[in-house]
Amino acid sequence: MAETSTAQQMMDQEMIARIGRRDQDAFSTLYARLSGPLYSLAMKMLGDSAEAQDALQDVFLQIWSRAGTYDSDQSSVFSWAVLLTRSRVIDRLRARGRRLRIVAGPTEEEEHGGTTDASIVESAADTAEKSDETARVRYVLTNLPSEQREAIEMAFFEHLTHHEIAARLEQPLGTIKARIRRGLLKLRERLRT
């Protein structure tokens, strides 16, 4: 993940390399690690579990067929998979020509009474680590200057263009571009520390 240790990134890269050699066990391991965050992202953007599942299926089939094209110089495996998911979700939203719905629905724990899916087998340590990472990213994002956070969230989750964000917030285009740039830089810098 973007904020995970180098060791975790190396493990992800090893999984991708093995998937490139058609190793189904490696695929299963990577699925267990990534499906939760990717599904959560698809749900937030699509607001529909059936569509989110379709999108997730598309993404993992792409990971299976395109593992050989993954370039570790361009991004971590986690970021690659996130951007792939976002791209598939946006394709779906465009194809259906409907307005984007942002769903601030119940969390997994609220929805399932704290139970987790049986297909995802994680150790207690993994779960704790993931919770820590998630909490940290949320903390860092929450503590960005509000105008930067707002611009990034509108671009990332709502897929509004910089032109649309500028119009909605009634700000000059250059200001919006700068807010996105500064926000992303700050996010990255704070996640590293």
């Binding site: 499906s35 089939l61 299976w64 361009q74 601030a104 998630t134 992303l184």
Partner: protein
């Protein structure tokens, strides 16, 4: 040193907010600039982390089973029946020696063919032509399309458009060449369709375009503009 403008472009590129021609131009800039690649990677990691701020959900177990079945089926499709092992020790060596000779002949043949192809290309204008297929972008009708036959040597081409309705009064369609060595798309002139949404026009870009990566059609003010302003309707690479 990366300028703020380049950083802005990198952030927009990672978030998928650039127009297709802008993205193509940015990608060629990325190819040539290691520092820019570093900043793009930083933005990519920051954007990746954004996914963790979505409310936590878990996909159903049945989805994993379904995906595993699908990849299993794909793997079976690709499985090749292995060759039977040769029963005698010297046979593999004989086969290897034969293959080595055969590969040598193939290399010689390839060199000869490449020379012949280069001669043919030099002599035949059609062989010097690159074809681009332009597909509709969001505002254009889904069945609209265009094909460009581009001759870099002559710096001219022909575009054929179909199913693109005439623009509203006061507007024109304009063709652009996206060249790896130019920051902005190069105008290749206004293109006008007939009442059936069809056009076949010969064009020449206003500036030399030696490394064209894509062509695009945008909706602009009547008579065209020197620098692209309007939305891209059709865009495509080779």
């Amino acid at each position: 040193m990366i300028s703020e403008e380049q950083q802005d472009q990198a952030a927009l590129y990672i978030l998928g907010l650039l127009e297709p021609h802008e993205a193509a131009a940015f990608e060629s800039e990325l190819d040539a600039n290691a520092e820019l690649r570093d900043i793009a990677r930083e933005f990519s990691e920051a954007a990746g982390a954004m996914a963790l701020t979505a409310p936590s959900r878990t996909p159903p177990a049945s989805l994993k089973q379904q995906i595993m079945r699908e990849i299993g089926a794909k793997t079976e499709e690709r499985t090749v029946v292995p060759l039977r092992r040769a029963p005698v020790g010297w046979v593999p060596w004989a086969i290897a020696a034969g293959l080595a000779v055969f590969c040598g002949l193939l290399v010689l043949d390839r060199v000869r063919l490449e020379r012949q192809l280069a001669d043919i290309r030099a002599a035949d204008p059609l062989m010097q032509t690159t074809f681009f297929t332009l597909a509709p972008s969001a505002p254009a009708p889904v069945d609209s399309k265009a094909t460009v036959a581009w001759q870099p040597g002559r710096q001219s081409g022909v575009i054929r458009i179909s199913n693109l309705p005439a623009p509203q009064p006061g507007k024109d369609y304009q063709l652009w060449a996206v060249d790896a060595e130019h920051k902005d798309p190069i105008s290749a002139g206004v293109v006008r369709v007939d009442k059936n949404g069809v056009a076949q026009i010969r064009f020449k870009p206003v500036e030399k375009a030696e490394h064209v990566k894509a062509f695009a059609i945008s909706l602009e003010r009547e008579g065209g503009v020197p620098k692209k302003e309007g939305p891209i309707l059709l865009v495509g690479t080779t």
